[in-house]
Symmetry: C2
Subunit: 222 residues, 2 copies
């Protein structure tokens, strides 16, 4: 978590502030799993966590603030791989994202956050900042790949990382289908092939090959 996202109030690991935070976030997660975002309220969270309503309001201000902080907390469960080669790192990362979103509470959480962002501009800013931070950090995988000469040097690390995430959010938010192992493997293969093809070069994507070239490449593939 970056300092910009630090909630107000002093945080001492194991201290009272940390215990309050843990109790409140656990309550948010529980409430989301049970009733979804629509049923979430500051009052219910206070009741379940045993923390004073006034304390929760003072520190998080809204249910939107709470679900965003829970998402940040949860995302630390997706560590960034460093296997020594980029296609392997992409595959490991795609699998970790896949495992993360196989759990129903995590799907509910991302749904809740996106739903908040559509209704509340502060939640939208928090969501956008959070994902930009994650993309920047995850971009390190690609920067190492560039240093190792695996991909074109003008590859945009954040564009590659967006491409790793996009299929999962599409599956959850739009197609509303299950996140499974096939999606992770397909995503890793797709992003690596697209990166090699120059789809994420900062100079703009190379134009799609003309049909003559295409036929030749297809024959090589089959």
């Amino acid at each position: 978590m970056t300092p910009a996202h630090q909630p107000p109030g002093e945080i001492r690991p194991g201290g009272r502030t940390a215990r309050t935070r843990a109790a409140v976030l656990a309550a948010v997660q529980h409430e989301l799993s049970e009733g979804g975002f629509a049923a979430l309220s500051m009052e219910r969270i206070a009741q379940r966590s045993g923390i004073h309503l006034a304390t929760i309001y003072r520190r998080w201000r809204s249910v939107e603030g709470l679900v965003c902080e829970l998402l940040m907390e949860a995302s630390t469960a997706i560590p960034l791989p460093d296997s020594g080669n980029l296609p392997e790192d992409l595959r490991l990362l795609a699998r970790r994202i896949g495992s993360f979103y196989t759990a129903a509470p995590m799907r509910r959480l991302v749904e809740a956050v996106v739903s908040s962002a559509g209704r509340n501009s502060r939640a939208e800013t928090v969501l956008a900042d959070f994902f930009h931070d994650r993309l920047r950090m995850a971009g390190e995988l690609v920067r190492r790949g560039i240093e190792r000469g695996e991909v074109p040097p003008d590859t945009d690390p954040e564009a590659v990382m967006s491409a790793v995430g996009a299929p999962f959010y599409y599956r959850i938010l739009i197609a509303r289908g299950p996140v499974d192992a096939d999606l992770a493997e397909s995503t890793a293969t797709a992003v690596w092939a697209a990166t090699l093809a120059g789809a994420y070069r900062t100079g703009g994507a190379a134009p799609v090959a003309d049909p003559g070239v295409v036929r030749q490449r297809t024959e090589r593939t089959e």
Copy 2:
């Protein structure tokens, strides 16, 4: 639109039912553009459209039903290309999706629908059915490509079409950034390269190449 999505009531083009529908959907679009989904209500739609509140309730039941129908209506503005070759079709389709979501009201609409789906299981079903229908129809592009021998015959048409849409929804719903021409070009290049690499074959994605093979392919790319 498939018969399953037909709203209750007889539809005669140019008839009173059609005029009612047009007036109500125009009002929904206007309200969404002005206040977003949070401010949308059946009462405001009735007021703006001049249609009786009872009529709107009888036919659409909820604001969720209304935004879903508006999305279906709007999506007919993205015609499916048929240029005679798949990479060109993918590029044309990506550009059309890109142009469609450049407009702020369309971004708001998809946000509203996804937000509804997270809160209302009926809206979720309508959204999922709608996108599955679109994917099935759009899959025709890929089936023609298979017939022309452009891509492996076991390529999954709907997986390819999901990959064309995913980057746009990620940009709108997660990264909260602008949809621009670069995104369309990058998406078209990426999906075509991934399709050729077998990422969307129904037998499951080919495993990511080992580092030796990778180095060779990178050299060819640069």
